[in-house]
Structures are given as C-alpha cells and as structure tokens.
Subunit: 243 residues, 2 copies
C-alpha cells in the first residue's frame, strides 16, 4: 500500500495543539487555575513558542483562556450572559448596572452621520456609558442623539452630569428600538481603556437604530468584550449553557 497517507488532511500543528490543550482544560484544570508558562508548554509539546501561542490564541478567542501579562495564562469560566434587548419585560438585575462616563458634542463617525442622515455640521450629543456585571466592565456604549431632538435640555452641566441629563431627556421621548445588529470588531483605544482591556481585543459590536415618528432618530453603538460576554436576546435562557 505505497499510497497510504500518513497525514490524511495535513492538520497544522497549532490546530492539533488547540484540540489537545482544549481537552486538557476540560479534564485536568479548574476554572481560575494557572497553566504552565508558555516556554515550558512549548518545550513539553516540542514546538516553538510562537506555535504554542497560536494554539492559545484560538482557545482565547473561544473564551476558554485568559492571558495576563506578568501573571500567566488562566482557565476561564463560562461567559456571562448580557441582555442586550428584545426582552420587553426585562428588569435590570442588581449586578448588571450602567455607569455613565462622559458626554461630548464631538462630530460622530461618518458611518453614524450617514445612518442618521445628518451632515457633519449638525450638533449631536454623544453619551458614553460603561456596563458592569458583577463588578467587571463587560462593555461600553456610545449613544448618538441629534441635538435638535432635545430642545428643552438646559446647557449648564457638563461631563457625566450632562450625559445623564441627555439620557433622561432621550428616554422621555420613548423612541422605539427599530432594529439591532451584531458583528465582530476590535476594541479601539478609547473603549479599550474604559473596558480595562488592551486595544485590539476582539469585541462584539451591537448597533441599535431608534425610531421616532417614522424616522431614524438616534443610534447607539455598544461594544462588548467577546472573551467574557455572551449576548442574550429575549428572555434569559431557561437553562444556562455552561460547560
């Protein structure tokens, strides 16, 4: 049988490593436990450190590992469910809170301007909030509201105080959440800083269109840590899917 293949599909080393390490995480490690360091692990499996790191990158994308510089590589627990809408009767749990960070009148990104059908001269409120679950910052949100939607807003306060005023005024408009989308992105430095995360970290970007009197009135762009978050829609899941 001279045509027998030793490598049936030519599986890369790092993918094989990912599988092996993943099984080890299931059977031999507890959540929060620290793995051997990368140099030792690489030596143990007979690969270069860069190859070992490729395998760890995969497991980190899956939310099964956390790596902290100066500390080590830790086994992650299951992701926390973060309600992002759809469930109309959802009352916020006490361990799930918003923390208003800041307000600005800066010009929004071009994408936002286009979605709101505005020119770059139109004044727009931008409110930055951070979302905390069990003490951990899991995500941030930029809310963009055209200023002419809130004519009765007094101009005196600034910063977080003004942000709260904008939020309350916007809530009183009772705009409808018309649509929502989720896609993958990476954390820009501004949100990364709020999320206590390095820039470039994978994030889930949630865009919400608000409608008022048949028109797109406002837009919010939420950014959630992809490593620790599982976004939930509708009611909370009947049974947790923890591993």
């Amino acid at each position: 049988m001279g045509t027998q293949q030793v490598h049936p599909i030519q599986e890369p080393k790092y993918w094989r490593l990912r599988t092996v390490l993943g099984r080890a995480l299931d059977s031999e490690f507890a959540v929060g436990e620290v793995l051997p360091n990368e140099r030792d692990l690489a030596a143990r499996f007979g690969v270069a450190r860069a190859t070992l790191r490729q395998a760890l990158d995969q497991l980190e994308l899956e939310g099964r590992l956390h790596r902290r510089r100066g500390i080590g590589t830790l086994v992650a627990g299951s992701r926390v469910g973060v309600p992002v809408g759809g469930g109309e009767g959802q009352e916020p749990a006490p361990h799930d809170t918003w923390h208003v960070v800041d307000h600005a009148d800066t010009t929004p990104p071009v994408k936002v301007l286009r979605a709101l059908a505005l020119t770059d001269k139109a004044p727009v409120h931008r409110v930055l909030r951070a979302r905390r679950t069990r003490g951990q910052v899991v995500g941030t949100e930029y809310l963009y509201v055209p200023a002419d939607l809130l004519p009765d807003l007094d101009a005196t306060p600034a910063g977080a105080q003004r942000a709260r005023a904008v939020l309350h005024a916007f809530w009183e408009l009772d705009a409808e959440e018309a649509s929502r989308s989720v896609e993958l992105g990476v954390a820009e430095p501004d949100v990364a800083q709020v999320m206590e995360n390095p820039p470039g970290t994978p994030v889930l970007v949630v865009t919400t269109w608000y409608r008022l009197r048949g028109r797109v009135a406002a837009l919010s762009v939420g950014t959630y840590r992809a490593d620790t978050c599982r976004l939930t829609f509708g009611e909370a899941e009947p049974v947790p899917l923890a591993s």
Copy 2:
C-alpha cells in the same frame, strides 16, 4: 525637559500599522482590489513579515480584508446583513436561502444534552442546514430535536430527505423561540467544510432555545462567518451602515 517622552504610550508597531493601512484602505483602494503582497508591504514599512501579518490579522477580524492563499489580500466590501430572528414578519428574500445538508441520529454535545435536560441515551434528531446569501455560504445551523417530540415521523428516508422531513414535522409543532444568544467562537472542521472556510476561522455562534408547552423542547446552534456577516435582529435596518 529631559523627561520628555518620545513614545507617549508605547504603541506597538502592528497597531500603528493597522491604523495606517486602514486609512489607506479607505482612501486608496476599491472593494475587491488586491493589495501588494506581504513581503513587499513588510519591506515598504520596514518591519518583519510577521509584524505586518499581525496588522493584517486585525484588519481581517474587522472584516476589512480577505486573504486567499495563492491569490493575495483583497479589500473586503461591507458585511452582509443576515436576519437571525426577532422580526416576526420577515419573509425570506430570494437571495437568502437555506440548503438542507444532512441528518443524523448521533448523540449531541454535552452542552446541548444539558440544555435539553436529556441523557446521552435519548435519541435526538440532528439536522444540518447551510445558509446561502447571494450564492455565498454565510453560515450553518445544527438543529437538535428530541425524537420523542416527533412520534409520527416515518423512518424510511435518510440523509437530506430525512432532514427535510424532520424540519417539516418540527415546524408543524409551532414551537416558540424563547431565547437567543450570540457569542464568539471558531469554526470547527465540520462546519468549516460546509462554509468553505478553513478551520479556526472566527464565527458568531447563535444559540436559540425553542419552547413548547412551557418546556425547553429543542435547540439550534447557528454558526456564521464573522468576517462576512452582520447579524440583524428585528426589522432590517432602515439605513445600511456600509462604509
């Protein structure tokens, strides 16, 4: 001023490169255009190829680039919106179709068993479908239905034919979509093959719980290409957010 800092925040080279290349994509390249090859780009920016590739990895995560072995690195268009639920009146567009691939009676993953409150002895239907949008496979779905929910199913057909029979029988139950969640994952080899994608590609994993007569009756696990998909909920967005 001897304490002046030359590198205020010590920005990594690959992050700076990502920003520079990202701007170049906006201003100097058209969708579908091929970038210079990695060796030339690395030389042009005076970095090692591995560093250049780190920057390209980031841009690929953001869905701004596609890399094809043997071809080159191409500028990606905006992501395609894929409706995944919530919009009750959503009629499927002609360019958005499901293609039933296969049926199996294999034991589901442990996570699924636990969510359905089943033992690993209980027979469960597993239907695999692929979702196509404009000729491109954008995602796959495993639907898990306990066999005792479909007692009237005749046992004769097999493969895709049986899969369709299971789907129709399940639809007639008219189960309620109780909850839904989205998280980040990587493509396992089985779904990667259906999606015409290499294993390890980032994907958005959509889990849907179906409820029937107050009980969790079935579960579906959808897997969508994170590079090309933007998942949409509710109505289609009023204004596309294309760049």
